[in-house]
Amino acid sequence: MIVAGIDVGSKFTKVVIVNDAKEILGYSNIRTGMDHHKTVEEALNEALKNANLKREDINKFVATGFGKISVPFADSEITQVVAAGKGAHFVWPTVRTVIEVGAEESRAVKVGDDGNIKDFALADKCAAGAGSFVDAMVRYLEVPLEEFGKISLEAKESVPMNAQCVIFAESEVVSLLHANYPKPEISRAIHDAIADRVASIARRVGIEDDVVLIGGLANDIGFVDSMKRELGTEVYVPDKIAPELVPALGAAIAEL
């Protein structure tokens, strides 16, 4: 049986195609447009191309993500929590705490030995901290996204940020800029602020090793570093597959 997991995220739509043996046959990741149906079609076609398959070859479609209702042909739907838990457990079997940070949302999922979900927590409002914050900051700092994480590692000190609200955090960043703080320090301050907020969600479920970080922001080494410091424990990023693809993968294997 061949299954396609489709994760319609608020910013990116991802498709992962797997077979019975849980091997990844192909994947795609494209920007979620205003027209979700169209985006889903495009992402699927790209993944099929990548896997060298035809649509008819797929036996089952599983949708997840904030826009999962935009996959009219899905055979089943699973929530982001379950997709994250299943996916992370598959790529990292010793995981107990999964932390997913996407463009708009973050969540923490606690999984048991068997990969079952034991507890979860979603970001509350007024505590939002996720990828789009980074995207906005990159614009202020005028550095490329890829650089942004790297320079954070060069920081010599941490500048605390009063980061309850993303918008106010932005204005704090602006004032740091105006106070001529070096960019590495500011980058680290931003990463620390997001890590602080994400950690507060994760702490609700309790931190238990191994901690695995997934979602787009896991690509950001500055953020991973901040998370390690904030939680005081090792934080792993899957190496077999890009971290933002893990939920789509989780969706696919959930139905195998």
């Binding site: 608020s10 990741n29 494209i30 920007r31 447009g33 205003m34 979700h36 904030f66 826009g67 209702i69 935009s70 708009e104 949302e105 409002k125 007024c126 939002a128 906005a136 614009r139 202020y140 700092l141 005028e142 490329p144 996204l145 890829e146 609200c165 993303v166 918008i167 106010f168 932005e170 204005s171 602006v174 004032s175 800029l177 105006h178 106070a179 001529n180 960019k183 890009a242």
Partner: protein, 295 residues
């Protein structure tokens, strides 16, 4: 995976302008105001208290550089004026303390009050300044002096940045969002988005997108809640006519039309770009300070 190219819908146009009909060499006092905002920077040159030239640019990552750039662009546009020719420079705005060449700094609240008085005339009593991150309701007297003011503090919702976020989310240029939202106004206006929090509101807007709402309805719902917040702030200081709107969002009819209708008061028509109000006020203070120093 290759990087994904993003369009920047939040970008608004920059301008540099000079009044060719005037000769600055004839002026007694040349004053300059620089408003270094979180989003935009303006440099205004005034000749004896009359607007002569300005630049209106985006604020970059270094405040000193942004203020220099703003001043440089306006001087370049004028052509033969040098920084030394200016008698007094006053800095204002969020980054006012980091303008290296400002002789004095004055808050944007005082400057917007003074600027509104110049742009709209001495009858103005209430000024609403809607900028990048702050929302201010300012009461002034007939000289443009601040009598009282209030600023948003609980929440950054309803500010320029919030609007930029939404423009980006919907992939519509910032200069068009306001007009577009008026398509359904006032008869077919949907309920406001239930929360004014931009962070929370964002997920609500995403939800509306997913439900397949047309963009103009989403924008209408969003601007309605922004306007509600603005009106709340205004009513707390007490709106007295005449009423004027300054700052970047004054160019966004999606907000201004709704605010005026909710208040039942028409805002005055500006003589020129109200985004300049802060810098204009600063330049006017510059003139006063210069004259004071001469006395």
């Amino acid at each position: 995976m290759e990087a994904i190219q993003e369009s920047e819908y939040w970008r608004w146009p920059e301008t540099v302008w000079v009044d060719e009909s005037k000769n600055w060499k004839e002026a007694e006092v040349i004053s300059c105001g620089i408003d270094l905002g979180s989003v935009s920077s303006q440099a205004v040159i005034m000749l004896d208290g009359e607007l002569y030239a300005y630049s209106n640019l985006r604020t970059g990552s270094s405040s000193a550089a942004s203020s220099e750039k703003a001043l440089k662009s306006v001087l370049e546009k004028i052509g033969d004026m040098k920084m030394e020719d200016i008698h007094y420079i006053v800095g204002t705005g969020y980054g006012r303390v980091s303008i290296p060449f400002a002789q004095k700094t004055i808050t944007e609240i005082a400057c917007h009050g003074r600027g509104a008085n110049y742009i709209y005339g001495p009858s103005v009593r209430t000024v609403l300044d809607m900028g990048g991150q702050d929302l201010k309701a300012i009461k002034i007297d007939n000289r443009g002096k601040v009598v009282n003011f209030l600023m948003n503090d609980k929440c950054a919702a309803g500010t320029g940045r919030g609007i930029e976020v939404v423009a980006d989310l919907l992939s519509i240029p910032i200069t068009e969002v306001g007009e577009l939202s008026l398509k359904v106004y006032p008869d077919d206006e949907p309920e406001p988005v239930s929360t004014t929090c931009i962070v929370f509101g964002k997920s609500e807007i995403l939800g509306l997108i997913r439900k397949g709402w047309p963009k103009e309805r989403i924008l209408a719902a969003f601007f309605r809640s922004v306007a509600t917040r603005v009106v709340e702030l205004l009513e707390r200081v007490g709106v007295e006519p005449d009423f004027a709107i300054t700052g970047g969002i004054s160019k966004n009819p999606g907000v201004t039309v709704r605010v005026q209708d909710m208040l039942g008061i028409k805002a005055l028509e500006p003589k020129f770009d109200p985004q300049l109000a802060g810098a204009v006020g600063a330049a006017l203070f510059g003139r006063a300070l210069y004259l004071k120093s001469k006395k």
